[in-house]
């Protein structure tokens, strides 16, 4: 009965990211690109990181060795847009009592509708990646700064949860253009997240994991029959053993970096094939 949209005739899109930890210099431009793209508010004091809203956050990893054998790496963390073990079984989506957060089978993006959210914060408790943030206060822009707010992203209000949307509004805008140009497909370059676009190191690659012509697919080589596990030996996902089946893949040639993606036992290998089979 229900007619699926034209673009669903092809395999559904699955937007995802590959972040090369070895390339990331930890500059933080992705975070600021995200703030300025998504009307993320700021306060005078942002040093309490539990209260600091950062859809994208760059974490510092260290190998824990003493001087001068210390090594550090930087790990940018957007929302991981978990698909779960069966598509859409994201930790946050499955606990939301308000249908404020949703999983789109069409794009693989986990959405958050602020006006729908009533602030119970179950999703924050459910998210293993601390990717969700609660607005404890109404956002305040210093006098005049509200002028730079983008009309494409709704400013949030006190009492709601927000998170990275993979800059979904850019997809909406790109699709508008595609409709106007005869309903063609949205091209890879037309829909890029603000962080991927800004990254001076080119560490973030964004695109459709299901489209072999997209760079992200070529880098990640996801196995659609095995929970999209990567075929790239440099790749790993965060807390992969939880079975969250995330769409953000990290790449590193350093083993200590790959091991920091989860609490592995000494005899375990990061990204073990059997790991994702455990049901979340």
């Amino acid at each position: 009965m229900k007619q699926t949209q034209i673009h669903n005739e092809q395999p559904p899109r699955r937007y995802g990211m590959a972040i090369d930890v070895d390339k990331c210099t930890g500059c933080g431009s992705c975070m600021v690109a995200c703030f300025s793209e998504n009307n993320v508010p700021f306060k005078q004091d942002e040093t309490d990181k539990l209260l600091s809203i950062t859809w994208m956050r760059v974490y510092q990893l260290t190998n824990g060795k003493t001087f001068p054998h210390t090594e550090v790496a930087y790990l940018p963390r957007p929302c991981q847009h978990c698909a779960g073990q069966h598509e859409g079984h994201s930790p946050c989506v499955s606990v939301c009592p308000a249908t404020a957060t949703d999983y789109s089978a069409d794009t693989g993006i986990v959405s958050q509708i602020y006006t729908r959210c009533f602030g119970c914060r179950y999703c924050m408790g459910a998210c293993p990646y601390h990717a969700r943030y609660f607005n404890w206060w109404d956002p305040v822009w210093p006098d005049g700064m509200e002028k730079y707010l983008s009309p494409n992203v709704s400013p949030r209000m006190r009492g709601v949860v927000e998170k990275c949307s993979f800059c979904f509004h850019r997809y909406q805008m790109a699709r508008d253009k595609a409709y106007t140009e005869g309903g063609r497909k949205v091209q890879e370059a037309e829909y890029q997240t603000a962080c991927a676009q800004a990254c001076p190191a080119g560490a973030i690659v964004f695109g459709d994991l299901n489209d072999p012509s997209h760079a992200v697919n070529q880098i990640v080589k996801p196995d659609a029959h095995n929970h999209y596990k990567s075929g790239n030996p440099r790749a790993f996902r965060l807390l992969e053993r939880l079975g969250t089946n995330t769409k953000v893949y990290y790449l590193s040639s350093r083993e200590w970096v790959r091991r920091s993606g989860d609490n592995y036992r000494a005899d375990e290998q990061p990204g073990m094939p059997g790991a994702a089979a455990q049901h979340g």
Binding site: M1, K2, Q3, T4, Q5, N8, P12, E87, G88, H89, V93, C96, T99, D102, Y103, S104, A105, D106, T107, I109, S111, I113, Y114, T115, R116, N152, V153, S154, P155, S165, F168, H169, Q172, M173, R175, D176, K177, A178, Y179, T180, E181, G182, G183
Partner: protein, 224 residues
């Protein structure tokens, strides 16, 4: 009504004697209460709920439509990036109105207060959706090939602008809920709430099934 029974069992003849009359009398009060609340609910409440605002000056859609070549899209067009322009900007209007066109009062107001001073006209948009909504004109006009009337009604035939009514609580235009306070509608353009979007999508079998939560359209299709 146990208290009533108890009362009667004590043999209060005074009240029982007058019971039929009093029943009608009491029912009268029921009717008065009912009638009053209906008057308040249907009459007073809507008047109180909406504040009337006037457009900066009057506008004749019908007259303009006779002059332009490309129908509605002459003024309400798609930009090259696929976004919809909405109400026209001053720059478009001055294409013709660089000098006074006629002597009507509204033309005078427009020319003197806006064209001469270079100010944009602060139109009150009847169909303005709240900030959380991403409505794609491109998807509906280019994708689904809908016409303007389906959602906006016969705006093109209007000779005057009706007054803009703003909901005092929500700040929304009255046209979103619809002119009918009970929310009933006869035409597709009578209401513009989310349920109306969904209803139309269901009727024309364009329901997508991308939402895992609802099995319908995913939220991000029309929200931002």
């Amino acid at each position: 009504m146990s208290s009533h029974d108890k009362y009667q069992s004590h043999g209060d003849s005074h009240s029982s004697a007058k019971a039929p009359d009093e029943g009608a009398y009491i029912f009268l009060f029921f009717l008065i209460g009912f009638a009053l609340s209906m008057v308040v609910g249907w009459g007073v409440f809507p008047t109180l709920l909406y504040s009337k605002k006037h457009q900066p000056f009057d506008f004749n859609h019908k007259q303009h439509l006779q002059i332009v070549d490309n129908g509605c899209q002459s003024c309400h067009f798609f930009r090259t990036d696929g976004s919809f322009s909405g109400s026209p900007r001053l720059a478009q209007c001055v294409g013709c109105h660089n000098e006074m066109q006629g002597q009507s009062e509204s033309e005078k107001a427009f020319f003197e207060q806006y064209v001469v001073q270079g100010r944009e006209v602060p139109w009150l948009v009847y169909s303005r959706q709240p900030d959380c909504v991403f409505f794609s004109h491109a998807a509906h006009i280019h994708g689904a090939k809908l016409d303007c009337v389906t959602c906006h009604g016969h705006m093109a035939a209007s000779e005057n602008l009706k007054s803009y009514e703003q909901n005092r609580i929500t700040g929304y235009s009255r046209d979103l809920w619809g002119r009918n306070i009970s929310g009933l509608k006869h035409n597709s353009w009578d209401r513009m709430k989310m349920d109306d979007c969904a209803e139309c999508h269901a009727r024309y079998q364009v329901v997508h099934d991308s939402s895992v939560q609802t099995g319908r359209d995913a939220c991000f299709v029309c929200h931002k």
